[in-house]
Amino acid sequence: MSTPTSEASIPLHETPLAGVTTVVDKKAAVILSVMTAGLLLVVAFFPQDGDTTFRLAVPSDFAQLPRVTVPSTLTAWVLIIVCLLCAGWSIVLYRRKLQTPLWLMVIYSLGWMIGFLAWAASGGTIPVVGLLSGSLALAVPLVFGALGGVLGERSGVVNIAIDGQLLAGAFAAAMIGSALNSTWAGLVAAMVAGTLVALILGLFAITYLVDQVIVGVVLNVLVIGLTSFMFTQVLAPNAETLNSPPRFTAVVIPVLGDIPLIGPIFFRQSAVVYLLYIAVAVVTWSLYRTRWGLRVRAVGEHPTAADTVGINVIRTRYRTILIAGAVAGMGGAFYTLVSVPQFNREMTGGAGYIALAAVIFGKWDPIRATLAALLFGFASNLQGVLSVIGSPVPSEFMLMLPYVVTIFAVAGLVGRSRPPAADGIPYRKG
């Protein structure tokens, strides 16, 4: 036998298996090699003379971290070598039929990214704090949307209407927030709006067993139509009364906010962002640690089984997607109560679909989905930062970056992922 048979994770006396071996796929090795080659080529063909400065602090810190200035091309080459080593090592591991460990991936990613930055930002200053906090900001609606998506699909309801929920949330937040001149009222309105969209989704997908993808897609169109129509007919004409909501401004969390690097990135944000932290924590905890979560997952994996132990599948699904809708709606509020205090037609720009990508990319797990959304936020913010500095890459290509990254991630790293078994399948009782 070519590969060793080892008794692994599953205690064999309980399994009908002949054994367990580790299967390694070469994806990791391939991806690392390709990425390294790519970086190597750009640096080789467009060498940058000059230095790159990494600024780790913001003026408002009292503990000022130093600026780090490095020679661009040299640094790039050094880090390329690091990448080459990592890639080589992962190839060796593959030959030895061993998985590429996570830490190697992490080191590689850091090396690659810093190397790329050093090259691309030559002659400029990378505001690390701004880069990361901006990424977070761009990711907020995506994370809310992704959380909503995860909840829905874990209960077996595919939610393509995330975009609709975000948009409806943004609209409601702007309108109610302005009318009552209260940010919190706006936030609540956004949650209600998201819930309403979810309710329609439920009505058609759960009660009337209409294909969930159809409902989702059509709902997005419906919400775009409605909000745009109302925008032109109602909001735009009365902009000052109905489309100029107050904003959630950044709140510095006492002690935490003063931690160098971490503080300015995570703890000098608006209330909505703090809500996001809470949402991620609560969703994760309740999904995996509470009775409610156990039942949601059961309903998403095997509704009939859940039914046979007296769990009301339909009610559970409704409850879950309504909550999911509220969460996604909150994300919508971010557009009009934090980013810019006004609503514009189709202002989510398809963010819901990106969130959907994050759900799948994150393998239906709240934490992983959050990370996926953050990665996307990072890529899009990096694009901006570099074009401000005036990078050698044309702005159109920088604008492409986040989407290309996502494709690579989904094709290369995730591959076939296993959704909840009953995901997207309406439940009929006999």
Binding site: K27, D211, V221, L222, T232
Partner: protein, 407 residues
């Protein structure tokens, strides 16, 4: 649809009562079994909702509502005016312009409807075909952009005899669209990457690629111009107008009809179509029967992309011949999804749905121009129609129809 987002194939836990993988067909059988009445009522309901919106946001109506107690007549008069005005305008803009002096002028809207229907039909076929293989092609926009760019480039770059030039441009468009969609198919087949994600992302990538090309003199941008726009397409590459100059209807519509015929043959009569349907309805069984599922995914996306590509060509070579721009897809890539859904992913259904939506599009302009009603209302009505048609039981409940035994 077997690979709805997040619903890859999974071994059913209870073989005997395996979940019906064929939820497309099922939903659509529902639509069909809904029968004419239900269909009619669904459309009616959608229009009613639209009317409510129109009335509710009409100044006149709101003004009169202020004193509805005092003079209710005004209110109802105003409401009637608003709604009636809107839908007559819709009719004038999409079927026959009753204000027109001559018949030739009067019938023009109908030709406009056909003009707008053409790209919706071909793109709808592209989306629908993918649906039939259990794939969700949200990438219409990107495929149209790449195809349109290719067609446009061929269109202004070369000097060729008319027929040859046009065919060459069309072929270029189909190839470009096919390749762009093919990426998604290939990635799904090879790495299992979810086509929904990939096609969405490719939309953005295509947009910025074309944008980049349009801002570089060396690439697509018109010489000594500064706008992100290419040179206009040469006459020899344009889709000839069918009914002479006073109408905009061009060959694109005929191409759409041909495409419908082709798609029908492909799905119902060809062996590839047989495999496509098998894969769409039950990938495991297809695989066990020696059908290379991965290859089918790739082929389907290639064909779908080519069809959507035709929509791109239709835009650049027919509807807006003044040159390539980044918004040549004009939202058709997404509308195509609704068209495919309404058409139940069947070629003939898509033909009908495409014409209906074309009419809405054409009528929308008149509605906006004469009644000041934003065209977005059309989106609302369209999506409501699809929703209601998909849920006959709902319609029955609403209109108190006798519930009829499903299956």
């Amino acid at each position: 649809m077997s690979s709805a987002v997040g619903t890859e194939q999974h071994p059913p836990t209870e073989p005997d009562e395996a979940p019906d993988r064929n939820r497309w067909r099922e939903t659509f059988r529902e639509i069909a079994s809904g029968g004419v009445t239900v269909g009619f009522l669904a459309v009616l309901l959608a229009i009613v909702v639209g009317s409510v919106l129109i009335a509710a946001t009409d100044e006149q109506v709101r003004a009169t509502a202020g004193y509805i107690g005092a003079r209710p007549g005004d209110f109802f008069q105003a409401t009637w005016d608003a709604v009636w005005g809107a839908y007559t305008a819709l009719f004038r803009g999409s079927v026959y312009n009753t204000n027109a002096v001559s018949f030739d002028q009067g019938i023009r809207p109908l030709t406009e409807t056909a003009k707008f229907a053409a790209p919706l039909i071909v793109a709808g076929l592209g989306v629908g075909l993918a649906f039939r293989a259990g794939m969700f092609n949200i990438g219409g926009r990107g495929q149209m952009l790449m195809a349109g760019a290719a067609a446009g480039w061929v269109g202004y770059q070369f000097d060729l005899p008319a027929v040859l030039h046009l065919s060459l441009a069309l072929v270029a468009a189909m190839i470009a669209g096919a390749l762009w969609a093919g990426i998604a198919g290939l990635l799904k087949a090879r790495t299992g990457a979810h086509e929904v994600i990939v096609t969405i992302m490719l939309n953005y990538v295509a947009f910025y690629l074309v944008f980049f090309a349009l801002s570089k003199q060396s690439l697509l941008q018109a010489p000594n111009s500064f706008n992100p726009k290419s040179l206009p397409v040469k006459d020899s590459a344009q889709l000839p107008e069918l009914l002479g100059d006073q109408y905009n209807l061009h060959l694109g519509f005929v191409i759409a009809l041909v495409a419908v015929a082709f798609a029908w043959w492909l799905l119902e009569r060809s062996s590839l179509g047989f495999r496509i349907r098998a894969v769409g309805l039950n990938p495991e069984a297809a695989r066990a029967a020696g059908i290379n599922v991965g290859r089918v995914y790739v082929l389907v996306m290639l064909i779908a992309g080519a069809l959507v590509g035709l929509a791109g060509a239709n835009q650049v070579l027919g509807t807006v011949t003044s040159g390539i721009t980044v918004d040549l897809d004009a939202g058709i890539g997404f509308d195509a999804i609704t068209v495919a859904l309404l058409g139940r992913s069947r070629p003939l259904g898509i033909l009908a749905a495409g014409i209906l939506f074309g009419a809405f599009k054409a009528g929308g302009f008149a509605m906006q121009a004469s009644q000041d009603i934003p065209v977005d209302i059309v989106l609302v009505v369209q999506s409501l129609i699809v929703l209601f048609l998909a849920a006959p039981p709902l319609i029955r409940t609403i209109f108190r129809l006798p519930a009829k035994e499903a299956k």
